[in-house]
Each structure stands twice: as structure tokens, then as C-alpha cells.
Symmetry: C2
């Protein structure tokens, strides 16, 4: 029997494992974490609305019913194409006949890796916990600060990058400060905190239609976010940033500007595009390495018009579903699969209470209805009924009381 | 106006702040964390049943309505009795006229501090997260381990100390392995894991009546816990412990054997008892330092018979309520308070599903009814309605499905 190894248990990898598990094909799924993460809600952990466990599900539990699927906790550090093995950081070699790479993306600081220490990005639970601690700590420090200039600096939070993550973060940081922290602090007025959303381009949310993006901008401004367009960041230091020549003191910077494919792709020793993505064929096999497959944020997959598919959960998920079935057919019946085709289920971003945008291509909505859609779909997509219930209870609670439940500063948050 | 400073926002300190806040007396509450922790349920975070935020409440939120109460995030590193100031690790000096110390307890390794690295205790959220990660990691390592002896070692978890914390931990680790992890792992049989509960004394739960303690022992054995009495630990190393001359390979050791008062007491430069506790007068003022008060696990308070009160949440809470009112009277009216008197509300410990013990003195119960009492009281005592709701939902869910929701291994868990 073919030995199939999948690296990465995100939206793509988990679907491949499910597809193969259903066909009772032996497969080993390797991930650095023991949980699958529902990344679209990670910003809510970073802004103290949800707990990490609310959006994470043990991989073993998700795949429990597939007796042919083995799960291995480990980090892949090398791929030997000749011997067909992957090596884990802890030592073991895992042999494969077919290899599926679904390792996703990480932050890209555009060659300024020194900014990483001062401007955490938001890709993992640890990132979210770190950002949450730093936001809360900045307000704690402002509360005991005697110097008004220093206090103003501490209460200035800059979000770099006006894509969906930046918009969601800026909106929910502003809501946290305005509605929740303003009641917690007595000396400072937390609702006067400055939340800056800095975007180098001409407008926010480049992937959305102009009308929805400008709606988002107006809504953010009304929440108290200062949106600055054509504001390229030139320098990030511990307590300040330089934007378009201007020095701005900041209590915290969050990086939501750039992502690049995870470095596992580079382990293959083949050329990648500017974002580190691996070129694949129509069946998601890597060009020139037909026994290796790549999907999700790691793979450069194009639509019919030749444009690359965006780095969205739904793209990775559909690719994973496709590849699971395609590989099962290939292994069981030796059949070659139809090419992968992406079906757009709608692109969405949330700005705040009652405010979201939804672009289905043929239908564009914004405001209250889009927000309801967003909430229902995201609760529905969460893995496991317990998570849905807990998250729904917390959202309802927050909606009624303006309270965010998980305002913890953790010791190793820095 | 008198400047009152409280150090520690546990069960004792928070009550003092409330009492003074209600009397509109200015007070500064200092804590190392920004949250109040409901420690009695910490073992459920350590065993993946609850999330940290379920049992932690922001201190600022709890005291939000008291406009005279200031909250400061910081660690007290020195107390100057002459100048009447406390210094924080970050630098600032905070002056006081009356000082209340409510800093609780920490682990004590009986002079073997080198054991701390291998045998984490359970006092903080970070401790709980660390233990949770290590338990889950041991099973992950066993799953990929080829050597059966090493596998057996990894699946041996030793809990040192047969008090309530040790009993609760051992019981819920056994339940986690037997009911939840056994479904997650395919190669290993997680339900065959060895959970050792080691107690140096003659019996478990020395603070409970003999009959309840032996019921707990029987219940633990039925859950699969191996209880060893008169088993003093002589050595703790990374992968093994020595107990009564016998070397035992272990995947994880958890320390639940000893506590000592937090070292803040020693900053006073006065003698303490064997457990680091400070002797106090009947009004909880420190002997010889009448403008300083101590309570909770830090204070040696005796009952009418002269026996020291145990280190329980209800003791700290009653002392805090007493001291809040007593200090308010003293400051407002110059009146000297009645001496503190403890009212026993019942002592409880939980062993597992359907199994708890409750000792009210005049009434002793065990089993299903005690378990219901335990659950209702603990949910009721949780701060905040949201926490009660979330925890109740999760308990109910776990009761029906045998699932623990928060099985996350975190990166900085080690």
C-alpha cells in the first residue's frame, strides 16, 4: 500500500486526511501542534473576546473515527526527495510514497525581520496570546504613568496592514478600548486611546469591491479608528514607528501587512514565487515532483483567468477536499483526477458590532445583515458542537453586556 | 485620609478591597496578575477540562464600581517599614499608612528546590497550562515510541501529595486518560496509563474524617489510580522518581505535596512559622506591627481551640470580609473591631464523576449527592455570571460526552 504523509493540519491538510481516512487508506498526518486552529477567529483571541480553546480542536479528536489515519506531533525540518522521507526536529524519519504539503503561511516583514520583535503578527495561538497581553499591559502601564506624553504613547496602538486581518484587529481593538476597558480604568480614559490602521496602498481591503471597502473605512472611523492610506511603514522600533517620514510613538504595533508561504516549501529545493508559494499542476501536484502535492497558502493555484487564488480558508478547504478524493481514487483505482476547480463561497470581513461586509460576486451586502451572516457562518464552521455553543454564548453575552471575557495578561506573553 | 495598600487580589485581598470600596475609602490594590483566579478549579485547567479564562476574572472588572479603589499591576519586591512604602519590581514606590498583605502561598519542595523543574506544582494559570501541556505531550511521545519500556515510562504519571489537590489531580488525570485520550490515540492504549498518587503519611486527605478519606481512596482505585501510602518521595529527576527506596520511571510528576506562605511575608523581616506564615492578633494585625495586616495563606490564624485555620479559600474570604469591614470602621469611626471568628462552611474534595466528599462537621456526605453539592457550589462561587454559564455548559457537555474541551499543548508550556 502507498504510504501517504500529510504535513500540516490546517484547513487543507485536515480535509485531505479525512478524504483518505474515509477511503480507509493509511496516512500519517504531521503537525507542529496537537490542535487544528480556526484561524478566521484568531483576532478575537488577540482582543480578549474568546479563549484559545474556543477556536482550537485536538487533531486526534477530529480524526478519531478514521482508523487508518495516524497523527504525529512534530515539526518537519527536512525532506529527502531521493529516499522519500521527511525528518522531524525530534529526530525520526518518516517514509512516504506520496507527500502532501499543507503548511500554510507565516508573516513576512518584507525583508525587515528585525521588526518581528516589536510588531508581532497574528498566525498562531501564541501570537494571539502575546498580542492580547501586550494590549492589556499597555493600558495597565498608562494607568500608572505620571507623564502625559508617555501615557499618550502607551495608549497608541498601530495596526500595520489594511487587509481583512488588519481591519478586524483595528475594529475590535477599538471596541475593546471604547466599550470594555473604558469601564475598567479609573485614571486614564481608555476610550480616548488612538488606534491607527496604516495601509501602504490607496485603499483598505484591496480584495473587496471599492464600495464595500469604503463602507468599512467609514465604519472604522466611526468606531474611533484612525485610518491612514498611502502610509507605508519605514521603520518599526520598540516604542515608535516611522510612517511616511513621520515618527509616531506607540504602545504596541501589530503586524497584519504581509504573509509568505511557510518555509517547508523551500525544503523541496525548487523555485517559489515572490510569496514563497510553490507552483502546482491542475491536480495540485508540484511541478516536476509528481508524487508531491501542495495546497492552501503554500501553493500557487490559479483560477480560470490565470489569477492566483487568495489565501483564504475556503480555498485551502476546497483544495483539501478535492485532493483527498483525488488521491483516494488514484491509489484505489489508478485513476487520474479531474483538475481542481474553485467555487467562490463569498468573501467576508467584519469591522465591528453590526458591521461586516460580504461579497458573493453576484451579491454584495454590508452592515447588519452581513454581520448576521458572518456570525452564523463562522459559528457554523467552527469544528465541534461544543465550540459552537460556547462561542455563541460568549458572543451573545458580549453583544448584550459589551464585556470581553478573556482579558488575561499571561506571564510568558512577551 | 489614611492611605491603605492591599497586596494580593486572591480570595482575601479582593474582599478587603470590596469592603473598603463600599465605605468609599481610598485604597490601592496591587497584584502580579491583572486577574483574580478561582484557584479551587485550577486542576480542571491542568487536566484540559476548562480554559484559563473560565476561572479568571479581571480584577479591574470586579472592582469597577468602587471609585475609590485603584488597581496596580505589579510585583512587590520590598517593604520599607520606616518610610512606610512598598516598592514594585518595575521601580515605583507606593506609600501606605495601613498595609494589608494577602499574597497567599506557593509550592514548597521541603528544601529540594531542584525538584521544581521536574515536578511542577499547581498554583497559577501558567502552572496549569504547563501541566496540561506536559500530560498531553507524554501521551503524544508514547504514541510514536517504539520501545515498550520507554512507552510505559511515558505513560506513568505520578502525583505527589495526597491532600485535596493531589486527589483531585490524580482523579481527573485518570479520567482524562481513560475516557477521553483513550479515544484519541490509536497505537497506545491511553486507558492503561499508570496514575500514581503518592502520599508520605498513613492516609489520604488528612484534613477529612477517616471514613470519607477511605471512600476517596476506594473511588480513586476504581478510576484506575494507584494509591500508595507511606510512600515518601526521596528523589525527583527528569524521567524518574525514587519512592521508599524504589526507582520509578515517570513521564510526568506533579507536585501537590507542600505549600508555604509567599515570600512577601519575609519582606517584613519578622519571624514566621515553619510554613512561612506570619503570626497575627485577633484583628489580623501582624504581631508587633499594628499598622500591617495579614490574612489568608500568609497568616497564621488560630481557631478557638488554638489550632491553625487551614489554607482554604473560605478562610481567606471570611478573613477578607472581616478585615474590609473592620478597617472601614477603624478609619471612619476610630472603633476597634471585634476579633475575627471563622465559620466553617464545609470542607470538600472531588474525586471524579459522581464522586465527591463533603464534611460539614455536623453532616458528612459522599458520592453522588456530595458531587452535586460540589458542582453547584463551585459554579455559584465563580465570579461573574458569564463564567458560571460557560463552566456549567462545559461540565454538562463533558458529563454527557466524556470530552474535555481544552486539550491544547502550548509552545511555551515547558
Amino acid at each position: 500500500m502507498m504510504r501517504v504523509v500529510i504535513v500540516g493540519a490546517g484547513f487543507g491538510g485536515i480535509e485531505v486526511a479525512r478524504g483518505l481516512g474515509e477511503a480507509r487508506i493509511p496516512v500519517t498526518l504531521i503537525d507542529r501542534h496537537n490542535y487544528h486552529l480556526f484561524q478566521p477567529l484568531l483576532y478575537q483571541v488577540a482582543t480578549a473576546a474568546l479563549s484559545p480553546a474556543d477556536i482550537a480542536e485536538p487533531i486526534r479528536k477530529m480524526l478519531r473515527h478514521y482508523s487508518t489515519v495516524g497523527v504525529v506531533l512534530g515539526e518537519v525540518v527536512a525532506i529527502d526527495l531521493g529516499r522519500r522521507t521527511v525528518s522531524l526536529a525530534t529526530g525520526p524519519l518518516i517514509p512516504f510514497d506520496l507527500l502532501v504539503l499543507a503548511t500554510g503561511a507565516t508573516h513576512s516583514y518584507f525583508g525587515h525581520d528585525e521588526w518581528a520583535a516589536h510588531a508581532p503578527g497574528l498566525k498562531t495561538i501564541e501570537d494571539a496570546r502575546r498580542i492580547r497581553s501586550r494590549i492589556l499591559l499597555a493600558f495597565e502601564q498608562a494607568e500608572v504613568c505620571a507623564d502625559p506624553i508617555e501615557q499618550e504613547r502607551l495608549m497608541t496602538i498601530a495596526v500595520i496592514g489594511g487587509g481583512p486581518t488588519g481591519v478586524e484587529l483595528a475594529g475590535s481593538i477599538a471596541e475593546l478600548a471604547r466599550y470594555t476597558l473604558s469601564k475598567d480604568f479609573h485614571r486614564i480614559r481608555a476610550d480616548t486611546a488612538t488606534v491607527l490602521l496604516l495601509e501602504a496602498g490607496d485603499r483598505l481591503l484591496a480584495a473587496f469591491p471599492e464600495a464595500l471597502a469604503s463602507y468599512a473605512e467609514r465604519k472604522l472611523e466611526r468606531l474611533g479608528v484612525t485610518v491612514r492610506l498611502r502610509a507605508a511603514v519605514e521603520c518599526v522600533e520598540a516604542n515608535s514607528i516611522r510612517v511616511a517620514g513621520q515618527e509616531i510613538g506607540v504602545g504596541l504595533v501589530v503586524w497584519a501587512a504581509g504573509v509568505a508561504a511557510s518555509s517547508v516549501g523551500s525544503l523541496l529545493g525548487i523555485p517559489t514565487d515572490r510569496l514563497g508559494r510553490v507552483a502546482v499542476n491542475a491536480d495540485l501536484s508540484v511541478r516536476g515532483l509528481e508524487h508531491i502535492f501542495a495546497l492552501g497558502d503554500l501553493a500557487l493555484v490559479t483560477d480560470k483567468s490565470g489569477a492566483p487564488l487568495p489565501g483564504l480558508a475556503q480555498v485551502a478547504k476546497q483544495e483539501g477536499q478535492y485532493l483527498g478524493h483525488a488521491l483516494a481514487k488514484k491509489i484505489r483505482k489508478g485513476r487520474i483526477a479531474e483538475p481542481f476547480e474553485f467555487h467562490n463561497r463569498g468573501n467576508t470581513a467584519i469591522i465591528g458590532r453590526h458591521a461586516a461586509i460580504f461579497d458573493f460576486g453576484w451579491w454584495r451586502i454590508r452592515g447588519w445583515l452581513a454581520w448576521m451572516f458572518w456570525a452564523i457562518i463562522h459559528v457554523y464552521l467552527l469544528v465541534g458542537f461544543q465550540h459552537r455553543l460556547l462561542v455563541a454564548v460568549q458572543w451573545l453575552w458580549r453583544y448584550v453586556t459589551y464585556e470581553s471575557g478573556a482579558r488575561l495578561i499571561v506571564e510568558n506573553g512577551e
